[in-house]
């Protein structure tokens, strides 16, 4: 069964960690939660480049264009974009339920850049730019939210552990006395 119930997972031996370890984990989770932001920023930069220079393929020398061959039909590319966005969103929602901790936005950036390239080569980027932009923002936004909420939850748990460790360390000297 892919989605395990919480009760089936073994509890972490949280109090066996040192405060420094917990702080390091908080820093690591905070850094990881910002990955999605970087993915969105890179995608927006990519979109600006595509919007600004998307028509450059028309100016390629004829022998280059002949070597590259004809562009795929625009209709097929649009259908591929819709199918890709649908399956990517379903996949992200499924991983959100599973509690997957990996950031997979970089591969989506690659696919979206591919769509920009193909539509630009078919000289149809002007008509389809907003569709790719909306698809990218939705997919990367959801991926960012997935990782960010997971990291926020992990940071909250680590802070609780840190507070428990702090309470224990304060209690110990009084117990000894």
């Amino acid at each position: 069964m892919p989605w395990r119930r919480h009760t089936e997972e073994p509890a972490e031996p949280a109090l066996s960690r040192s405060p420094d370890e917990a702080k390091a984990r908080i820093r690591a989770f905070a850094a990881r939660s910002r990955l999605g932001q970087w993915g969105l920023i890179v995608f927006l930069l990519l979109s600006i480049i595509a919007f600004r220079f998307g028509s450059l393929f028309k100016d390629l020398p004829e022998d280059w264009q002949a070597a590259l061959g004809p562009a795929p039909p625009i209709m097929l590319m649009s259908i591929a974009l819709a199918v890709y966005a649908f399956s990517a969103l379903l996949y992200i929602l499924a991983r959100m339920m599973e509690g997957d901790r990996k950031y997979r936005g970089w591969s989506h950036l690659g696919y979206l850049a591919g769509f920009y390239l193909f539509f630009a080569y078919a000289d149809a980027l002007r008509d389809n730019f907003w569709a790719i932009l909306v698809a990218g923002l939705t997919i990367l936004g959801l991926e960012h939210f997935r990782l960010w909420s997971h990291c926020k939850e992990a940071i909250r748990r680590e802070r609780e552990i840190l507070a428990d460790l702090d309470r224990c360390s304060r209690r110990l000297p009084s117990d000894n006395s």
Partner: protein
Amino acid sequence: MLNKIAVKAIFPITLAVTGFVILGSLLLYSFNKNDLISDTIRHEVGLADTIVKSTRYAMLKFDREMLQNTIGDIGALDGVEHVRIFNKKGIVMFSSDPGEIEQAVDKQAAGCNGCHSGAEPATRLGTMDQARRFTNGQGSEVLAITTPIYNEPSCIAAGCHRPVDESEILGTLDIGLSTAQLQNSLSQLRMRLIVFCLMVLFLTVGGVCALLQRNVLLPVRNLATFAESMAAGKVDLKAPEGIEEIDTIVAVLRNQVDQLQQMRAEQENSDKVLKN
């Protein structure tokens, strides 16, 4: 606020549905726009062919006056921006704008370079390749069709033109129509899609929010209030009910509180015994 269950449950669904509905609408608009433009081009190509056929007799009779009047009348129709006939050298022979007659056109200009881009001019073009879009001097967008006027045996018989194998094309007809009607249809399509998008979003996001609120969020909030009250010592409160999992948690909570109270009572009894 962002850690609340409502945000965690509703935000991803809202984002995914909103994004995909907007993407689908944009792609649908793009498909419909291309279909509308293709239909308009096909309609214009048919119109251009009709003009060529209807002026054929005047050409065979070498009746320049009738030809010029026909072109002028067609050019005066609503939505027709220009109609002109070029000869093979690119000189305007007949036009709805008399000022253009005898003017030469650059073969690299839009509408000409489709055939004249190579060393040998192309004699056949696909339907979509005959069309071009541009903004005219009055600032309105024009969709123009350039259609060739082919040489026929009857043209040679009239004694005006050379045989077909020497000269396949005699000239071209260029007709430009205003795209105002097309733009109007596209604008209506955009409005309808926006309204459809808003309705779909309202139904799906609103439906998901309402169901989550009724079946998950409200019972969980009631359970949290119930647990807090029990922790504060109020044990006679009405428990939230109607959902199996929440009923189980309430039963466990009640059981725990009962055990705790029993332990306290035993502790108090043993304290009393010890004091006595």
